[in-house]
């Protein structure tokens, strides 16, 4: 791995994603913007139906300063693969082929194409910006919506309160393919995220980054809290920063003590209805996950 490190000091002033109509405090927009600062102008991007394509490509106002295209909802990874093939066919070198898809576009409808692309070892970078629901259509449950979260399709009803299923573990699913590089990240730890984008671009094969990118609109938080809540998702242990390459897992951050899960959940409108045993369940799930990572990932 290259030793170059991105920081707020050496970050480029150049912008490749601006003039879009994303909501204030949008975590997804920040994830796209920061990644493109790392990858630079020799980048070709594909984005499926979802928030970032909906806010960035409204004719005639185009928000990407690099080559960018909307893919079908299910076809992000396959369109990226076709672009990579065309780049090879044309002898284009030193280019990056990157995708930005949401949690639904990745873990639900797009998972087949993503799995195929990893299987084939396509030279693409696939970034999942995870805001834990279908936000573009107005906050419906996805495969990455956490247990208990209120969405418009998992309402807080008198019989059922919020999502009845747990968050699918995309990082493990991707790593199980034996991918060249995979990482989790959070826009709350943006320097870590940007350096992971850099490592993804240098891995020489298929790369996947799963970045926690809060949606103030869907989560029910003030717009100015997007970054702090993204940071807190890691600090409370419900999310984690990890990498996978060459068959090995690595935890980038191992908090001595977690901040209270309850504090994290109570700040968000989508969890307002949770009872104390719901929160206890979230804590148990967190502890089980950490137990798994610390014991099963021998290099963690």
């Amino acid at each position: 791995m290259n030793n170059a490190v991105f920081s707020s000091r050496n970050m480029t002033e150049q912008e490749f994603f601006f003039g879009h109509k994303a909501c204030a405090g949008c975590g997804g927009a920040l994830a796209v913007r920061l990644a493109l600062k790392v990858l630079g102008e020799r980048t070709f991007a594909a984005l499926p139906a979802g928030c970032m394509s909906a806010v960035g490509f409204i004719y005639p106002q185009m928000a990407f300063g690099i080559n960018a295209i909307i893919s079908t909802f299910a076809g992000t990874a396959s369109m990226l693969a076709g672009m990579a093939a065309a780049a090879r066919a044309q002898g284009l070198e030193d280019v990056h082929i990157v995708g930005f898809a949401g949690d639904g576009g990745t873990a639900d409808i797009g998972i087949q194409a993503l799995s195929g692309a990893i299987d084939r070892g396509e030279r693409i970078i696939y970034i999942c910006y995870d805001n834990e629901a279908y936000m573009n259509t107005g906050t419906q449950k996805s495969g990455l919506t956490p247990l208990g979260a209120r969405t418009t399709t998992t309402p807080d009803g008198s019989v059922v309160g919020g999502s009845t299923t747990k968050k699918k573990n995309m990082f493990d699913i991707v790593a199980a393919h034996g991918i060249d590089y995979a990482a989790t990240a959070s826009i709350g730890y943006y320097q870590d995220y940007m350096n992971k984008v850099l490592r993804a671009s240098q891995c020489g094969g298929t790369a996947y980054i799963h970045v926690m990118a809060p949606c103030p609109t869907g989560w029910g938080i003030p717009t100015e809290h997007a970054l702090t809540i993204a940071r807190e998702s890691v600090d409370c242990g419900l999310w984690y920063l990890a990498e996978y390459s060459q068959g090995k897992y690595r935890l980038n951050q191992r908090p001595e003590t977690f901040t209270p899960v309850e504090d994290y959940l109570r700040k968000q409108g989508r969890f307002k209805h949770l009872q104390s045993d719901d929160i206890a369940q979230a804590v148990r799930d967190r502890d089980a996950r950490w137990q798994y990572m610390l014991t099963q990932w021998s290099d963690a």
């Binding site: 070709f44 005639p60 300063g65 080559n67 893919s71 076709g82 093939a85 065309a86 299987d119």
Partner: protein, 397 residues
């Protein structure tokens, strides 16, 4: 005329040779019967170094066309192939590719659509996607399949057209039948089909945002341009065929191919390989002194409405053979032919024969039966407007 080598190949293999001779830069492949052999031959060409292409073994038909769109958007000549369920699985991408104006060429092996499951032929797969914005051509034999793959790239990539082309081959009947095919040298094909120069593509020097959203004030203009491009394809198809004829000595009549129609009182309209059987029936009936003719429709989009009306204008009865049925109405080819006739004020009695669904054989005797029905209609006798030919079950009538 350039020297051409004679091959003995199936329809699938002829397509593979056409893809190779077209110097296709990106091929995306997912297997489905009866298209598989085309992809297997291309795989062998790649493995043996006879084809230099980015050959992608994708994990679904949806991805096959998604990847093809990505490659085409980057400005490369791109091919894929499918059939039946696979074509329907990529239906979203068909509209996407034509809206994106990406000149992808795709072979479709015409096959029945489940349920019930059937791997055998009819044309319900592609005809159900007539509105997806693709140029649709139906070929009759392996030579035409080879020739049309090469012509399809020339048509699709024309700057006035920039529309994807679907080359349809009847499953098994054509995909798996071996015939002699004349294959020109690579140099000869190069002289006819230069490398693709995309007028619009993703480009490092001029970055573009493509496949964007539109709003009600401008969406319709994009759709109008798409329609105009399809209309513009009519003369381009003729020009490409003329040039192909000049290079290789073969021509197929453009959008339609009329056979013994000039003085024909009864004309049967066909699409695809059944034309060969119908031609034989026409010859036999002609020997008996019957004035019958045959009209092969080659392109279902753009639809040759003027050509069809002109070819049928003196007929006293017209039959349309559909290997298709739009349940609750009639065959789709029939609907299109009728619209062309009425639009051009040609209104002979017209009957629709639904035949050959799910691989049911259509014999010369079936065609003769259709001409008998047309004779009755010509004489003013009552006839069924839509008739299923060769049904093995009792019907109400």
């Amino acid at each position: 005329m350039m020297k051409q080598q004679k091959y003995f190949v199936s329809g699938n293999e002829a397509v593979a040779l056409g893809v190779q001779r077209s110097r296709t830069q990106v091929v995306t492949a997912y297997p489905i019967t009866p298209q598989t052999v085309a992809m297997e031959r291309l795989s062998e060409m790649v493995a043996d170094g006879e084809l230099r292409t980015e050959f992608m073994l994708v994990e679904s038909e949806h991805s096959a066309l998604s990847a093809a769109m990505g490659a085409s958007a980057m400005g490369t000549r791109t091919f894929t192939a499918t059939s039946s369920q696979g074509l329907l699985y990529m239906a979203e991408c068909l509209h996407y590719a034509s809206g994106g104006r990406w000149p992808i060429v795709m072979m479709n092996a015409n096959r029945s659509v489940a349920l019930p499951w059937s791997i055998f032929g009819d044309q319900r797969d592609s005809l159900s996607l007539l509105d997806s914005g693709w140029i649709q051509v139906y070929v009759e034999d392996a030579q035409e399949a080879f020739d049309m793959i090469i012509q399809a790239f020339a048509i699709a990539e024309d700057e006035q057209v920039l529309t994807p082309v679907m080359v349809n081959l009847d499953g098994f009947t054509l995909t798996h039948t071996y015939e002699p095919v004349f294959v020109p040298t690579q140099e000869a094909v190069d002289a006819f089909l230069p490398p693709y120069q995309a007028p619009v593509k993703m480009d490092l020097d001029r970055p573009l945002n493509m496949a964007f959203s539109s709003t009600p004030p401008n969406n319709m203009e994009f759709k109008y341009q798409q329609h105009q491009a399809m209309e513009a394809a009519r003369p381009v198809i003729a020009q490409v065929e003329q040039a192909f004829h000049a290079h290789f000595g073969r021509a197929y009549g453009g959008l339609i191919d009329a056979y013994r129609c000039d003085d024909a009182e009864r004309i049967l309209v066909t699409v695809g390989t059944v034309t060969g059987t119908a031609r034989q029936a026409v010859d036999q009936l002609r020997e008996q002194g019957q004035k019958v003719g045959l009209l092969k429709i080659r392109f279902m989009r753009p639809f040759p409405h003027e050509e069809v009306a002109r070819a049928l204008r003196h007929a006293r009865a017209v039959g349309v053979l559909d290997r298709d049925i739009s349940f609750g109405y009639e065959g789709t080819v029939f609907t299109n032919v009728n619209s062309a006739l009425i639009g051009n004020k040609v209104v002979p009695p017209a009957l629709n024969f639904i035949a050959g669904l799910g691989g049911r054989d259509i014999g010369v005797e079936d065609i003769e039966k259709m001409f008998e029905r047309l004779a009755a209609a010509m004489d003013g006798k009552a006839a069924k407007r839509v008739e299923f030919i060769h049904l093995g079950v009792a019907t109400d009538e």
